[in-house]
Protein backbone atom coordinates (compact mmCIF):
# COMPACT_ATOMS: atom_id res chain seq x y z
CA UNK A 1 0.00 0.00 0.00
CA UNK A 2 2.93 2.32 0.69
CA UNK A 3 4.22 1.81 -2.85
CA UNK A 4 0.79 2.57 -4.34
CA UNK A 5 0.62 5.67 -2.15
CA UNK A 6 4.00 6.84 -3.43
CA UNK A 7 3.01 6.22 -7.06
CA UNK A 8 -0.27 8.12 -6.48
CA UNK A 9 1.45 11.06 -4.79
CA UNK A 10 4.30 11.52 -7.27
CA UNK A 11 2.03 10.78 -10.25
CA UNK A 12 -0.38 13.46 -9.01
CA UNK A 13 2.50 15.90 -8.54
CA UNK A 14 3.65 15.23 -12.10
CA UNK A 15 0.14 16.04 -13.34
CA UNK A 16 0.07 19.24 -11.27
CA UNK A 17 3.45 20.24 -12.77
CA UNK A 18 2.16 19.45 -16.26
CA UNK A 19 -0.78 21.73 -15.56
CA UNK A 20 0.84 24.62 -13.69
CA UNK A 21 4.29 25.02 -15.30
CA UNK A 22 3.13 25.45 -18.96
CA UNK A 23 0.37 27.83 -17.79
CA UNK A 24 2.87 30.04 -15.97
CA UNK A 25 5.45 29.89 -18.79
CA UNK A 26 2.79 30.74 -21.39
CA UNK A 27 1.50 33.57 -19.24
CA UNK A 28 5.00 35.04 -19.05
CA UNK A 29 6.11 34.52 -22.63
CA UNK A 30 3.08 34.79 -24.89
CA UNK A 31 2.49 38.19 -26.41
CA UNK A 32 -0.90 39.60 -27.21
CA UNK A 33 -1.94 40.04 -30.79
CA UNK A 34 -4.82 42.01 -32.19
CA UNK A 35 -6.06 42.43 -35.70
CA UNK A 36 -7.54 45.62 -37.14
CA UNK A 37 -11.29 46.01 -37.40
CA UNK A 38 -12.11 45.14 -40.99
CA UNK A 39 -15.25 45.74 -43.01
CA UNK A 40 -16.19 45.52 -46.65
CA UNK A 41 -16.62 48.98 -48.09
CA UNK A 42 -19.55 49.90 -50.29
CA UNK A 43 -17.58 52.77 -51.84
CA UNK A 44 -14.14 51.17 -52.31
CA UNK A 45 -15.58 47.70 -52.99
CA UNK A 46 -12.83 46.00 -51.07
CA UNK A 47 -12.18 45.05 -47.46
CA UNK A 48 -10.77 47.98 -45.51
CA UNK A 49 -8.93 47.68 -42.21
CA UNK A 50 -9.04 50.40 -39.58
CA UNK A 51 -5.61 51.83 -38.87
CA UNK A 52 -4.37 54.62 -36.64
CA UNK A 53 -2.01 56.68 -38.75
CA UNK A 54 0.84 58.54 -37.09
CA UNK A 55 -0.43 61.76 -35.55
CA UNK A 56 -3.53 61.72 -37.67
CA UNK A 57 -7.08 60.54 -37.36
CA UNK A 58 -8.21 56.99 -38.03
CA UNK A 59 -7.72 55.83 -41.58
CA UNK A 60 -8.64 52.79 -43.60
CA UNK A 61 -6.34 50.59 -45.67
CA UNK A 62 -7.72 48.24 -48.29
CA UNK A 63 -6.24 44.86 -49.22
CA UNK A 64 -4.08 46.49 -51.93
CA UNK A 65 -2.57 49.00 -49.50
CA UNK A 66 -4.54 52.08 -50.60
CA UNK A 67 -5.31 54.50 -47.79
CA UNK A 68 -8.71 56.17 -47.28
CA UNK A 69 -10.49 58.37 -44.77
CA UNK A 70 -13.91 57.90 -43.17
CA UNK A 71 -15.49 58.02 -46.61
CA UNK A 72 -14.38 54.40 -47.09
CA UNK A 73 -16.99 53.34 -44.54
CA UNK A 74 -19.91 55.72 -45.01
CA UNK A 75 -22.37 53.19 -43.54
CA UNK A 76 -20.45 52.55 -40.32
CA UNK A 77 -19.57 56.23 -39.79
CA UNK A 78 -22.79 57.64 -41.22
CA UNK A 79 -23.60 59.86 -38.23
CA UNK A 80 -20.07 61.27 -38.16
CA UNK A 81 -20.05 61.95 -41.89
CA UNK A 82 -23.55 63.46 -41.72
CA UNK A 83 -22.45 65.81 -38.93
CA UNK A 84 -19.64 67.00 -41.22
CA UNK A 85 -22.01 67.22 -44.17
CA UNK A 86 -19.92 64.61 -45.94
CA UNK A 87 -22.47 61.80 -46.20
CA UNK A 88 -23.04 61.05 -49.90
CA UNK A 89 -26.59 61.39 -51.29
CA UNK A 90 -26.41 58.07 -53.08
CA UNK A 91 -24.19 55.02 -53.24
CA UNK A 92 -24.22 52.43 -56.03
CA UNK A 93 -26.95 54.50 -57.66
CA UNK A 94 -29.22 54.21 -54.65
CA UNK A 95 -30.44 57.25 -52.71
CA UNK A 96 -29.65 56.96 -49.03
CA UNK A 97 -30.74 58.68 -45.85
CA UNK A 98 -29.29 58.61 -42.36
CA UNK A 99 -32.52 57.10 -41.02
CA UNK A 100 -32.39 54.28 -43.54
CA UNK A 101 -28.73 53.62 -42.79
CA UNK A 102 -29.34 53.42 -39.02
CA UNK A 103 -32.32 51.12 -39.52
CA UNK A 104 -30.23 48.67 -41.54
CA UNK A 105 -27.32 48.31 -39.14
CA UNK A 106 -26.85 44.72 -38.07
CA UNK A 107 -24.33 43.28 -35.64
CA UNK A 108 -24.27 39.60 -34.61
CA UNK A 109 -21.54 38.04 -32.56
CA UNK A 110 -21.40 34.34 -31.60
CA UNK A 111 -18.55 32.66 -29.75
CA UNK A 112 -17.93 28.93 -29.39
CA UNK A 113 -18.55 29.35 -25.66
CA UNK A 114 -22.12 30.37 -26.48
CA UNK A 115 -22.56 27.08 -28.29
CA UNK A 116 -20.48 24.61 -26.26
CA UNK A 117 -22.29 24.55 -22.94
CA UNK A 118 -24.85 22.52 -21.08
CA UNK A 119 -28.10 24.45 -21.04
CA UNK A 120 -31.32 23.79 -19.19
CA UNK A 121 -34.09 22.76 -21.61
CA UNK A 122 -36.16 25.74 -20.45
CA UNK A 123 -36.88 28.71 -22.70
CA UNK A 124 -38.55 31.94 -21.61
CA UNK A 125 -41.52 32.72 -23.79
CA UNK A 126 -42.31 36.34 -24.66
CA UNK A 127 -45.55 37.74 -26.00
CA UNK A 128 -44.73 39.04 -29.47
CA UNK A 129 -47.86 41.20 -29.68
CA UNK A 130 -47.84 42.91 -26.28
CA UNK A 131 -50.93 44.81 -25.15
CA UNK A 132 -48.95 47.93 -24.33
CA UNK A 133 -46.91 47.84 -27.54
CA UNK A 134 -43.58 47.60 -25.72
CA UNK A 135 -42.21 44.11 -25.15
CA UNK A 136 -42.80 42.88 -21.60
CA UNK A 137 -40.89 40.44 -19.42
CA UNK A 138 -41.92 36.87 -20.18
CA UNK A 139 -44.50 35.21 -17.93
CA UNK A 140 -44.41 31.72 -19.42
CA UNK A 141 -41.66 29.32 -20.38
CA UNK A 142 -41.33 26.40 -22.75
CA UNK A 143 -39.93 23.24 -21.20
CA UNK A 144 -38.61 20.74 -23.73
CA UNK A 145 -38.89 17.09 -22.75
CA UNK A 146 -38.38 13.80 -24.56
CA UNK A 147 -42.07 13.50 -25.33
CA UNK A 148 -43.07 17.07 -26.01
CA UNK A 149 -42.76 20.77 -25.38
CA UNK A 150 -44.67 22.00 -22.33
CA UNK A 151 -45.76 25.52 -21.43
CA UNK A 152 -45.31 26.58 -17.81
CA UNK A 153 -46.41 29.69 -15.99
CA UNK A 154 -43.25 30.78 -14.21
CA UNK A 155 -44.90 32.87 -11.52
CA UNK A 156 -46.97 29.98 -10.20
CA UNK A 157 -44.71 27.18 -11.44
CA UNK A 158 -47.67 25.35 -12.94
CA UNK A 159 -48.09 23.53 -16.22
CA UNK A 160 -50.51 25.36 -18.49
CA UNK A 161 -52.34 22.31 -19.76
CA UNK A 162 -54.62 23.99 -22.26
CA UNK A 163 -51.81 26.04 -23.81
CA UNK A 164 -49.56 22.98 -23.90
CA UNK A 165 -52.32 20.94 -25.59
CA UNK A 166 -52.81 23.64 -28.22
CA UNK A 167 -49.07 23.79 -28.86
CA UNK A 168 -48.85 19.99 -29.12
CA UNK A 169 -51.72 19.96 -31.59
CA UNK A 170 -50.02 22.61 -33.70
CA UNK A 171 -46.68 20.82 -33.61
CA UNK A 172 -48.24 17.43 -34.36
CA UNK A 173 -50.12 18.85 -37.33
CA UNK A 174 -46.79 19.92 -38.83
CA UNK A 175 -45.12 16.58 -38.10
CA UNK A 176 -42.77 17.78 -35.36
CA UNK A 177 -40.61 14.89 -34.15
CA UNK A 178 -39.80 14.97 -30.42
CA UNK A 179 -37.54 15.70 -28.69
CA UNK A 180 -36.56 19.13 -29.91
CA UNK A 181 -32.81 19.39 -30.51
CA UNK A 182 -31.97 23.08 -30.76
CA UNK A 183 -33.66 26.24 -29.51
CA UNK A 184 -32.52 29.71 -30.56
CA UNK A 185 -34.17 32.81 -29.17
CA UNK A 186 -33.51 36.08 -27.44
CA UNK A 187 -36.09 36.52 -24.67
CA UNK A 188 -35.16 40.09 -23.86
CA UNK A 189 -37.23 43.25 -24.12
CA UNK A 190 -34.14 45.15 -25.35
CA UNK A 191 -35.07 44.58 -28.97
CA UNK A 192 -37.47 46.05 -31.47
CA UNK A 193 -39.81 43.04 -31.79
CA UNK A 194 -40.05 39.39 -30.87
CA UNK A 195 -39.86 36.43 -33.22
CA UNK A 196 -40.00 33.75 -30.51
CA UNK A 197 -37.77 30.74 -31.08
CA UNK A 198 -36.29 28.89 -34.00
CA UNK A 199 -36.33 25.23 -33.08
CA UNK A 200 -35.10 22.04 -34.71
CA UNK A 201 -36.89 18.77 -34.12
CA UNK A 202 -35.37 15.29 -33.79
CA UNK A 203 -35.06 15.12 -37.60
CA UNK A 204 -33.30 18.51 -37.73
CA UNK A 205 -36.25 20.23 -39.43
CA UNK A 206 -36.59 23.91 -38.59
CA UNK A 207 -39.69 25.38 -36.93
CA UNK A 208 -40.58 28.75 -35.48
CA UNK A 209 -42.47 28.93 -32.18
CA UNK A 210 -43.85 32.35 -31.42
CA UNK A 211 -46.47 33.50 -28.91
CA UNK A 212 -49.09 35.69 -30.54
CA UNK A 213 -51.93 36.95 -28.34
CA UNK A 214 -51.36 34.20 -25.80
CA UNK A 215 -51.19 31.33 -28.28
CA UNK A 216 -47.96 29.69 -29.35
CA UNK A 217 -48.00 29.64 -33.12
CA UNK A 218 -45.87 27.23 -35.10
CA UNK A 219 -44.41 27.62 -38.54
CA UNK A 220 -42.21 25.37 -40.69
CA UNK A 221 -39.54 26.14 -43.25
CA UNK A 222 -39.64 23.38 -45.88
CA UNK A 223 -36.56 24.78 -47.66
CA UNK A 224 -34.50 23.99 -44.55
CA UNK A 225 -35.81 20.45 -44.16
CA UNK A 226 -32.89 18.69 -45.85
CA UNK A 227 -30.06 20.88 -44.60
CA UNK A 228 -29.42 18.89 -41.43
CA UNK A 229 -29.24 22.10 -39.42
CA UNK A 230 -26.70 21.75 -36.60
CA UNK A 231 -26.77 25.32 -35.33
CA UNK A 232 -29.14 28.26 -35.62
CA UNK A 233 -29.52 31.72 -34.23
CA UNK A 234 -32.42 34.14 -34.35
CA UNK A 235 -32.08 37.73 -35.56
CA UNK A 236 -34.56 40.39 -34.57
CA UNK A 237 -33.21 43.51 -36.25
CA UNK A 238 -35.16 46.58 -37.15
CA UNK A 239 -34.77 46.00 -40.91
CA UNK A 240 -36.49 42.57 -40.75
CA UNK A 241 -34.01 41.41 -43.41
CA UNK A 242 -33.51 38.00 -41.83
CA UNK A 243 -35.32 35.76 -39.40
CA UNK A 244 -32.23 33.83 -38.45
CA UNK A 245 -28.98 32.23 -39.52
CA UNK A 246 -28.73 28.48 -40.09
CA UNK A 247 -25.61 26.32 -40.23
CA UNK A 248 -26.07 23.04 -42.07
CA UNK A 249 -24.43 19.66 -41.54
CA UNK A 250 -21.52 20.69 -43.80
CA UNK A 251 -20.93 23.90 -41.80
CA UNK A 252 -22.37 26.16 -44.52
CA UNK A 253 -24.08 29.32 -43.36
CA UNK A 254 -27.54 30.10 -44.72
CA UNK A 255 -29.80 33.07 -44.16
CA UNK A 256 -33.39 32.35 -43.24
CA UNK A 257 -35.51 35.25 -44.44
CA UNK A 258 -38.96 36.20 -43.13
CA UNK A 259 -40.83 34.83 -46.16
CA UNK A 260 -39.42 31.38 -45.35
CA UNK A 261 -36.76 31.16 -48.03
CA UNK A 262 -33.32 29.84 -47.15
CA UNK A 263 -30.54 31.73 -48.94
CA UNK A 264 -27.05 30.22 -49.24
CA UNK A 265 -24.19 32.61 -48.47
CA UNK A 266 -21.04 30.74 -49.45
CA UNK A 267 -19.76 31.21 -45.91
CA UNK A 268 -18.36 28.22 -44.03
CA UNK A 269 -18.61 28.46 -40.28
CA UNK A 270 -17.98 25.85 -37.60
CA UNK A 271 -19.88 27.15 -34.55
CA UNK A 272 -18.18 24.75 -32.12
CA UNK A 273 -14.72 26.05 -33.01
CA UNK A 274 -14.98 29.48 -34.59
CA UNK A 275 -16.07 32.97 -33.58
CA UNK A 276 -18.63 34.58 -35.85
CA UNK A 277 -19.02 38.31 -36.34
CA UNK A 278 -21.56 39.72 -38.77
CA UNK A 279 -21.65 43.46 -39.40
CA UNK A 280 -24.31 44.35 -41.90
CA UNK A 281 -25.46 47.57 -43.51
CA UNK A 282 -27.68 48.78 -46.29
CA UNK A 283 -25.38 47.44 -49.01
CA UNK A 284 -23.17 44.64 -47.67
CA UNK A 285 -22.81 42.21 -44.80
CA UNK A 286 -19.25 41.59 -43.68
CA UNK A 287 -19.05 38.10 -42.18
CA UNK A 288 -15.93 37.22 -40.21
CA UNK A 289 -15.14 33.76 -38.90
CA UNK A 290 -12.02 33.27 -36.83
CA UNK A 291 -10.20 30.55 -34.96
CA UNK A 292 -6.71 30.32 -33.46
CA UNK A 293 -5.10 30.23 -36.92
CA UNK A 294 -6.61 33.30 -38.52
CA UNK A 295 -9.62 35.18 -39.82
CA UNK A 296 -11.74 34.63 -42.88
CA UNK A 297 -13.90 37.44 -44.25
CA UNK A 298 -16.77 37.33 -46.69
CA UNK A 299 -18.72 40.23 -48.16
CA UNK A 300 -22.37 39.41 -48.86
CA UNK A 301 -24.68 41.59 -50.88
CA UNK A 302 -27.41 42.75 -48.47
CA UNK A 303 -30.22 42.32 -51.00
CA UNK A 304 -29.76 38.57 -51.52
CA UNK A 305 -26.73 37.57 -49.38
CA UNK A 306 -24.79 36.60 -52.48
CA UNK A 307 -21.03 36.48 -51.72
CA UNK A 308 -19.17 39.15 -53.69
CA UNK A 309 -15.71 39.00 -52.13
CA UNK A 310 -13.66 37.14 -49.57
CA UNK A 311 -10.40 37.73 -47.77
CA UNK A 312 -8.20 35.80 -45.36
CA UNK A 313 -5.81 36.98 -42.70
CA UNK A 314 -3.54 34.49 -40.95
CA UNK A 315 -2.35 35.06 -37.38
CA UNK A 316 1.39 35.03 -36.72
CA UNK A 317 2.35 31.57 -35.55
CA UNK A 318 2.95 31.91 -31.84
CA UNK A 319 4.04 28.73 -30.13
CA UNK A 320 2.68 28.04 -26.69
CA UNK A 321 4.19 25.44 -24.41
CA UNK A 322 1.93 22.38 -24.52
CA UNK A 323 0.54 21.21 -21.22
CA UNK A 324 -2.46 19.88 -19.36
CA UNK A 325 -5.46 22.21 -19.30
CA UNK A 326 -8.87 21.84 -17.79
CA UNK A 327 -10.66 24.80 -19.32
CA UNK A 328 -10.78 26.18 -22.83
CA UNK A 329 -11.70 29.42 -24.52
CA UNK A 330 -13.94 27.34 -26.79
CA UNK A 331 -16.29 25.79 -24.25
CA UNK A 332 -17.67 26.00 -20.73
CA UNK A 333 -16.77 22.51 -19.59
CA UNK A 334 -14.09 21.47 -17.16
CA UNK A 335 -12.33 18.42 -18.52
CA UNK A 336 -8.73 17.40 -19.19
CA UNK A 337 -7.17 18.30 -22.53
CA UNK A 338 -3.54 18.22 -23.59
CA UNK A 339 -2.52 21.00 -25.93
Amino acid sequence: MKRIGQIFLWGSLALVALWVIPSVVNLMTLEGYSTPFTLYSCTVHDFTALDRGEGSDFRFIDTKGNVYGDEAQPMFYASLLASKGALPDSIEGRKISLEEIEKNKVIVSVRPKDVNKTSAPVYLLMESVPERLELQDPEDALVSRKDGIYVYNMEKNVLLEEKTARLRKALDSLGFAYPAKLFAGNPSHHKAYDEGYLVTDARSRVFQLKQVNGTVQVRTFPQADNLGVKYLTITEFENHATLGYLVDADSRLHMLVPDGRVLPTGVTYVPEKEDLLVVGDLFYYTVKTSDDKGEHFWALRSSDFYPVASYERAYPSGRSLPGLRFTSSLDNWVKPRFK
Binding site: G5, F8, D137, P187, W333
Partner: protein, 223 residues
Amino acid sequence: MNKMILYKEWLKTRWVLLGILLVFAAIGFYCFLNLSKVVEIRGGALLWEAMVAKDAILVDVFRYLPALAGIFLGLAQAVPEIQHKRLKLTLHLPYPQKRMLLVMVAFGLLILALLYALQACLSAVLLAQWLASELVSRILRTMLVWYLAGWAAYLFTWALCLEPSWKMRVPVVGVASAFLYLLFLSRMPEAYNGFLPWLLAYTLLSGVLLFHGVARFKEGAQD
Protein backbone atom coordinates in the same frame (compact mmCIF):
# COMPACT_ATOMS: atom_id res chain seq x y z
CA MET B 1 -15.05 -4.42 17.30
CA ASN B 2 -16.56 -2.50 14.40
CA LYS B 3 -19.21 -1.09 16.73
CA MET B 4 -16.55 0.00 19.21
CA ILE B 5 -14.56 1.79 16.51
CA LEU B 6 -17.69 3.47 15.26
CA TYR B 7 -18.62 4.47 18.81
CA LYS B 8 -15.13 5.96 19.28
CA GLU B 9 -15.53 7.93 16.04
CA TRP B 10 -18.93 9.12 17.20
CA LEU B 11 -17.46 10.33 20.50
CA LYS B 12 -14.71 12.19 18.63
CA THR B 13 -16.98 13.86 16.14
CA ARG B 14 -20.39 14.45 17.72
CA TRP B 15 -19.83 18.08 18.73
CA VAL B 16 -18.17 18.95 15.44
CA LEU B 17 -21.03 17.23 13.63
CA LEU B 18 -23.54 19.21 15.63
CA GLY B 19 -21.66 22.38 14.71
CA ILE B 20 -21.58 21.44 11.02
CA LEU B 21 -25.27 20.59 11.10
CA LEU B 22 -26.09 23.93 12.72
CA VAL B 23 -24.01 25.85 10.14
CA PHE B 24 -25.68 23.95 7.28
CA ALA B 25 -29.10 24.63 8.78
CA ALA B 26 -28.38 28.32 9.40
CA ILE B 27 -26.98 28.96 5.91
CA GLY B 28 -29.74 26.88 4.33
CA PHE B 29 -32.35 28.84 6.27
CA TYR B 30 -30.77 32.13 5.17
CA CYS B 31 -30.56 31.01 1.53
CA PHE B 32 -34.17 29.88 1.25
CA LEU B 33 -35.51 32.80 3.27
CA ASN B 34 -33.70 35.05 0.82
CA LEU B 35 -35.15 33.21 -2.20
CA SER B 36 -38.66 33.22 -0.73
CA LYS B 37 -38.43 36.97 -0.19
CA VAL B 38 -37.29 37.44 -3.81
CA VAL B 39 -40.31 35.43 -4.96
CA GLU B 40 -42.64 37.33 -2.65
CA ILE B 41 -41.42 40.77 -3.70
CA ARG B 42 -40.37 40.34 -7.34
CA GLY B 43 -42.18 37.17 -8.39
CA GLY B 44 -41.20 33.58 -9.09
CA ALA B 45 -40.46 34.28 -12.74
CA LEU B 46 -37.31 36.10 -11.66
CA LEU B 47 -35.79 32.83 -10.42
CA TRP B 48 -36.48 31.17 -13.79
CA GLU B 49 -35.02 34.14 -15.63
CA ALA B 50 -31.91 34.21 -13.44
CA MET B 51 -31.29 30.53 -14.10
CA VAL B 52 -32.06 30.50 -17.81
CA ALA B 53 -30.70 33.86 -18.92
CA LYS B 54 -27.86 34.40 -16.45
CA ASP B 55 -26.78 30.84 -15.64
CA ALA B 56 -27.43 31.49 -11.94
CA ILE B 57 -27.53 28.55 -9.56
CA LEU B 58 -29.51 30.28 -6.76
CA VAL B 59 -27.84 28.25 -3.99
CA ASP B 60 -24.28 29.48 -4.61
CA VAL B 61 -23.97 30.21 -0.92
CA PHE B 62 -23.62 26.43 -0.36
CA ARG B 63 -20.60 26.20 -2.67
CA TYR B 64 -17.77 25.85 -0.14
CA LEU B 65 -19.83 24.41 2.73
CA PRO B 66 -19.33 20.71 1.88
CA ALA B 67 -15.55 21.18 1.59
CA LEU B 68 -15.40 23.02 4.91
CA ALA B 69 -17.49 20.29 6.51
CA GLY B 70 -15.07 17.70 5.11
CA ILE B 71 -12.06 19.54 6.54
CA PHE B 72 -13.58 19.99 10.00
CA LEU B 73 -14.83 16.41 10.21
CA GLY B 74 -11.44 15.11 9.04
CA LEU B 75 -9.68 17.21 11.67
CA ALA B 76 -12.09 16.05 14.38
CA GLN B 77 -11.33 12.43 13.58
CA ALA B 78 -7.62 12.59 12.74
CA VAL B 79 -6.20 15.14 15.19
CA PRO B 80 -6.99 13.08 18.33
CA GLU B 81 -5.22 10.14 16.67
CA ILE B 82 -1.99 12.00 16.05
CA GLN B 83 -1.90 13.96 19.32
CA HIS B 84 0.72 12.44 21.60
CA LYS B 85 1.14 9.69 18.97
CA ARG B 86 -2.10 8.00 20.06
CA LEU B 87 -2.16 6.40 16.63
CA LYS B 88 0.43 3.99 17.98
CA LEU B 89 -2.15 2.73 20.51
CA THR B 90 -4.88 2.52 17.88
CA LEU B 91 -2.64 0.46 15.62
CA HIS B 92 -1.86 -1.92 18.48
CA LEU B 93 -5.52 -2.84 19.05
CA PRO B 94 -6.34 -6.48 18.23
CA TYR B 95 -7.88 -5.64 14.89
CA PRO B 96 -6.46 -5.54 11.34
CA GLN B 97 -4.88 -2.10 10.95
CA LYS B 98 -6.01 -1.41 7.38
CA ARG B 99 -9.55 -2.46 8.20
CA MET B 100 -9.62 -0.23 11.24
CA LEU B 101 -8.51 2.78 9.22
CA LEU B 102 -11.05 1.90 6.56
CA VAL B 103 -13.87 1.76 9.12
CA MET B 104 -12.82 5.12 10.59
CA VAL B 105 -12.68 6.80 7.19
CA ALA B 106 -15.85 5.08 5.94
CA PHE B 107 -17.62 6.47 9.02
CA GLY B 108 -16.66 10.00 8.01
CA LEU B 109 -17.46 9.53 4.33
CA LEU B 110 -20.84 8.05 5.20
CA ILE B 111 -21.68 10.83 7.65
CA LEU B 112 -20.73 13.42 5.04
CA ALA B 113 -22.75 11.61 2.37
CA LEU B 114 -25.80 11.61 4.67
CA LEU B 115 -25.34 15.30 5.43
CA TYR B 116 -24.98 16.16 1.75
CA ALA B 117 -27.96 13.98 0.80
CA LEU B 118 -30.06 15.71 3.47
CA GLN B 119 -29.05 19.14 2.16
CA ALA B 120 -29.66 18.15 -1.47
CA CYS B 121 -33.08 16.60 -0.71
CA LEU B 122 -34.28 19.55 1.35
CA SER B 123 -33.02 21.96 -1.32
CA ALA B 124 -34.80 19.98 -4.04
CA VAL B 125 -38.08 19.96 -2.11
CA LEU B 126 -37.92 23.69 -1.40
CA LEU B 127 -36.81 24.66 -4.91
CA ALA B 128 -39.48 22.48 -6.52
CA GLN B 129 -42.19 24.85 -5.24
CA TRP B 130 -40.80 27.62 -7.47
CA LEU B 131 -39.04 25.85 -10.35
CA ALA B 132 -39.68 23.18 -12.99
CA SER B 133 -38.02 19.83 -12.33
CA GLU B 134 -35.47 20.49 -15.12
CA LEU B 135 -34.18 23.56 -13.30
CA VAL B 136 -34.12 21.80 -9.93
CA SER B 137 -32.12 18.91 -11.35
CA ARG B 138 -29.75 21.40 -13.01
CA ILE B 139 -29.02 22.88 -9.59
CA LEU B 140 -28.53 19.44 -8.03
CA ARG B 141 -26.21 18.31 -10.84
CA THR B 142 -24.15 21.47 -10.35
CA MET B 143 -23.95 20.80 -6.60
CA LEU B 144 -22.50 17.32 -7.13
CA VAL B 145 -18.98 18.64 -7.62
CA TRP B 146 -19.25 20.63 -4.37
CA TYR B 147 -20.06 17.41 -2.52
CA LEU B 148 -17.19 15.66 -4.24
CA ALA B 149 -14.94 18.50 -3.03
CA GLY B 150 -16.25 17.74 0.48
CA TRP B 151 -15.13 14.12 0.24
CA ALA B 152 -11.80 15.13 -1.28
CA ALA B 153 -11.17 17.74 1.43
CA TYR B 154 -12.01 15.13 4.07
CA LEU B 155 -9.64 12.49 2.68
CA PHE B 156 -6.80 14.95 2.12
CA THR B 157 -7.23 16.29 5.67
CA TRP B 158 -6.83 12.75 6.99
CA ALA B 159 -3.83 12.18 4.73
CA LEU B 160 -2.15 15.37 5.91
CA CYS B 161 -2.73 14.51 9.56
CA LEU B 162 -1.47 10.95 9.24
CA GLU B 163 1.66 11.92 7.34
CA PRO B 164 4.35 11.97 10.07
CA SER B 165 6.90 14.35 8.47
CA TRP B 166 6.47 17.96 7.40
CA LYS B 167 8.77 17.34 4.45
CA MET B 168 6.24 14.94 2.93
CA ARG B 169 3.27 17.06 3.93
CA VAL B 170 4.39 19.69 1.42
CA PRO B 171 3.71 17.54 -1.69
CA VAL B 172 0.45 16.32 -0.14
CA VAL B 173 -0.63 19.95 0.40
CA GLY B 174 0.38 20.72 -3.21
CA VAL B 175 -1.71 17.90 -4.64
CA ALA B 176 -4.67 18.61 -2.31
CA SER B 177 -4.66 22.35 -3.14
CA ALA B 178 -4.44 21.72 -6.88
CA PHE B 179 -7.24 19.16 -6.80
CA LEU B 180 -9.57 21.33 -4.72
CA TYR B 181 -8.76 24.31 -6.97
CA LEU B 182 -9.72 22.16 -9.96
CA LEU B 183 -13.04 21.29 -8.32
CA PHE B 184 -13.86 24.98 -7.90
CA LEU B 185 -12.40 26.13 -11.22
CA SER B 186 -15.71 26.90 -12.95
CA ARG B 187 -18.89 28.56 -11.77
CA MET B 188 -20.84 27.55 -14.86
CA PRO B 189 -23.78 25.25 -14.14
CA GLU B 190 -23.13 21.60 -15.00
CA ALA B 191 -19.58 22.37 -16.17
CA TYR B 192 -18.24 19.16 -14.60
CA ASN B 193 -20.95 16.74 -15.79
CA GLY B 194 -18.78 14.62 -18.11
CA PHE B 195 -15.68 14.77 -15.90
CA LEU B 196 -17.39 13.85 -12.60
CA PRO B 197 -16.93 10.04 -12.76
CA TRP B 198 -13.16 10.52 -13.23
CA LEU B 199 -13.00 13.05 -10.43
CA LEU B 200 -14.89 10.66 -8.16
CA ALA B 201 -12.47 7.84 -9.03
CA TYR B 202 -9.49 10.09 -8.27
CA THR B 203 -11.04 11.22 -4.98
CA LEU B 204 -11.58 7.65 -3.80
CA LEU B 205 -8.10 6.69 -4.98
CA SER B 206 -6.63 9.53 -2.92
CA GLY B 207 -7.53 7.37 0.11
CA VAL B 208 -4.30 5.42 -0.52
CA LEU B 209 -2.43 8.42 0.91
CA LEU B 210 -3.85 7.55 4.33
CA PHE B 211 -2.30 4.09 4.21
CA HIS B 212 0.89 5.63 2.84
CA GLY B 213 1.04 7.93 5.88
CA VAL B 214 0.34 5.11 8.34
CA ALA B 215 3.04 2.94 6.73
CA ARG B 216 5.55 5.80 7.07
CA PHE B 217 4.43 6.37 10.67
CA LYS B 218 5.07 2.72 11.48
CA GLU B 219 8.50 2.96 9.87
CA GLY B 220 9.25 5.82 12.26
CA ALA B 221 9.56 8.52 9.59
CA GLN B 222 9.93 12.01 11.10
CA ASP B 223 11.61 15.37 10.41
